[in-house]
């Protein structure tokens, strides 16, 4: 049964459309009828190569059958660290680590609203009227097995405590009311599914798509288990997330009232199907695997819903999670290493590398910090540097490695640790992984007022540098060789 309902006339600050309205020139509105098959994703690749990260709003996407979708597609929403940090109220994206740790730890409790106040339930399609094929889901890359929900925030709950968990998981749209469902084995949602299956029960699930980017990023905060993400997301977004009971599961699984689209359903016990290949975050194709499936019971959406997509393996996909990882690493390391100044999880290392920065660490503390950071499942290599190294410039990290490291002294390998999924370098059948911590800091000075016992860095005077920068400001550099 499909039915439409008029929502109360109000404006919630934190919806996707309010963000798009306010974002001005940061949004590229494309009126070309771009295909959902690779063409929209190709735009993201081209922009990534150019080093530009506008939000992309394709107003009239062309579906795989050649028809035009009534829903627009929004992608590249989270590709810019600068923009995301600003939305979270962080003055500079380079301060994301400590800010994430502080804001997600503080949290703001969600509030419950009634259905009449929930735009996401303006249109409700249940049973045979629910049809995922109406969504402009993208088939992003040439070896993807089909169209995927890529920005689906999947929410399940722990049957023992009732505590919910939210995580982005890929879902291959296999039919009108069937998708694959791929939670990593170590994920909290996988634990919830396993608990329901151990009881011989289907696991209830909701997938919400499209929200204000601050909520999208906030909901990816790295928490314990079981621990709801609504409070942390509210903390990061700066206001309470408005929740409404789902149509299928009622109060047991709430959904964001201000989302664009919600898919509701069940994960039937012990039913596995093939999923993938799919272009994944390491920049390689993830192999075809056996995963659970999701049987859809209802689809709800706004009357003029927008479909949100994450570009697989692109900045759009990695930046928000990497910023959340920075917050998690900061929380893990700071208690054992008080001289930790900052953390960065660079796009170049996907989710496998982390850089730690220290302010005059005493002997031993950097190694304590490396050990703590390496314990975080996803990270495989951690590099520690001093304050003079720009954590956000890979060339400076390479310079520190080249000039401050003796491998026999400064490399710390630990074998047999847990690992993140989809690591393309893992040997066949490996259950654990080798990790490396590298201390690329300078040796400490004998006393605080003495220079460090190391060669000084080449420098020109500040006045001379300022003069040079002033001189260059007026120059047309377009014809100058870039490398």
């Amino acid at each position: 049964m499909s039915h439409a309902r008029k929502a109360n006339s109000y404006h919630f600050m934190s919806g996707l459309r309010s963000f798009l309205d306010a974002a001005g020139g940061a949004v590229w509105r494309c009126n070309e009828p771009l295909s959902v098959v690779q063409e929209i994703t190709a735009l993201q690749h081209a922009l990534s190569k150019a080093g530009r990260y506008p939000v992309i709003h394709v107003e009239r996407p062309r579906l795989a059958d050649g028809s035009t979708s009534s829903m627009g597609v929004v992608t590249n929403l989270c590709a810019s660290r600068t923009m995301l940090a600003r939305l979270l109220g962080i003055d500079d994206h380079r301060h994301a680590a400590s800010a994430f740790a502080r804001l997600s730890g503080a949290g703001i409790d969600p509030v419950r609203v009634e259905r009449r106040d929930a735009p996401v339930q303006e249109i409700v399609s249940e049973g045979k009227d629910a049809n995922l094929l109406r969504l402009p889901a993208l088939r992003q890359h040439s070896m993807d097995v089909g169209a995927y929900l890529t920005a689906g925030h999947c929410t399940t709950f722990d049957p023992e405590t009732g505590e919910d968990n939210t995580s982005i998981q890929r879902c291959w749209v296999r039919g009108e009311r069937l998708t694959s469902y791929f939670p990593y084995a170590s994920s909290h949602n996988a634990r919830n599914v396993a608990k329901f299956w151990a009881r011989g029960e289907a696991c209830p699930v909701v997938i919400w798509i499209g929200h204000h980017p601050a909520v999208v990023v906030g909901s990816q905060a790295k928490l314990g288990y079981p621990e709801s993400h609504w409070k942390a997301a509210g903390g990061l977004a700066g206001e309470a997330i408005r929740l409404v009971p789902s149509i299928t599961h009622g109060d047991k699984l709430m959904v964001p009232a201000d989302a664009e689209i919600v898919v509701e359903g069940w994960i039937p016990p012990n039913r596995l199907e093939a999923d993938g290949p799919f272009a994944e975050y390491p920049g390689y194709v993830g192999v075809q695997v056996a995963t659970p499936v999701l049987e859809v019971s209802a689809v709800t959406h706004r009357r003029d819903a927008l479909y949100h997509d994450f570009g697989g393996g692109l900045e759009d996909h990695l930046v928000p999670d990497n910023m959340a990882m920075e917050g998690k690493l900061y929380s893990l390391v700071k208690p054992v290493a008080p001289t930790l100044a900052n953390v960065h999880v660079p796009f170049s290392g996907r989710r496998f590398h982390a850089y730690l920065q220290f302010r005059n660490p005493p002997r031993g503390e950097v190694r304590d910090a490396l050990a703590a950071a390496l314990a975080y499942r996803r990270v495989r290599t951690v590099v520690a540097v001093d304050e003079d190294i720009d954590l956000f410039d890979d060339r400076e990290i390479m310079w520190a490695l080249a000039t401050r490291v003796q491998w026999h002294r400064d490399a710390m390998r630990i074998d047999g640790l847990t690992h993140g999924n989809l690591d393309p370098s893992l040997p066949p059948g490996a259950q654990t992984v080798s990790k490396m911590g590298i201390d690329a800091t300078l040796p400490p000075a004998r006393a605080p007022n003495l220079p460090k016992p190391f060669a000084p860095v080449n420098e020109v005077g500040r006045n001379a540098l300022e003069m040079a920068e002033t001189l260059l400001k007026g120059c047309d550099m377009s014809q100058w060789p870039a490398s």
Binding site: M143, D144, V145, Q288
Partner: protein
């Protein structure tokens, strides 16, 4: 003969579709199970692992 630890080995198993002969990477556990249909990303054919045109393990 034991392979020295420093010699790199591949880690991806490839499958070829019985219809279009296209190749794609598959988790070896999915092939070992044998009871789940593989799905060809090139032509959408579904088939059991035993019916693959070719399986190339590392």
């Amino acid at each position: 003969m034991t392979t020295p630890a420093w010699e790199k080995q591949g880690n991806v198993t490839w499958v070829s579709c019985p219809d279009c002969k296209g190749w794609w990477p598959v988790d070896p556990q999915l092939i070992e199970r044998g009871d789940i249909d593989l799905a060809c990303p090139h032509c959408q054919r579904r088939f059991k692992p035993a019916d693959a045109a070719q399986v190339e393990a590392p």
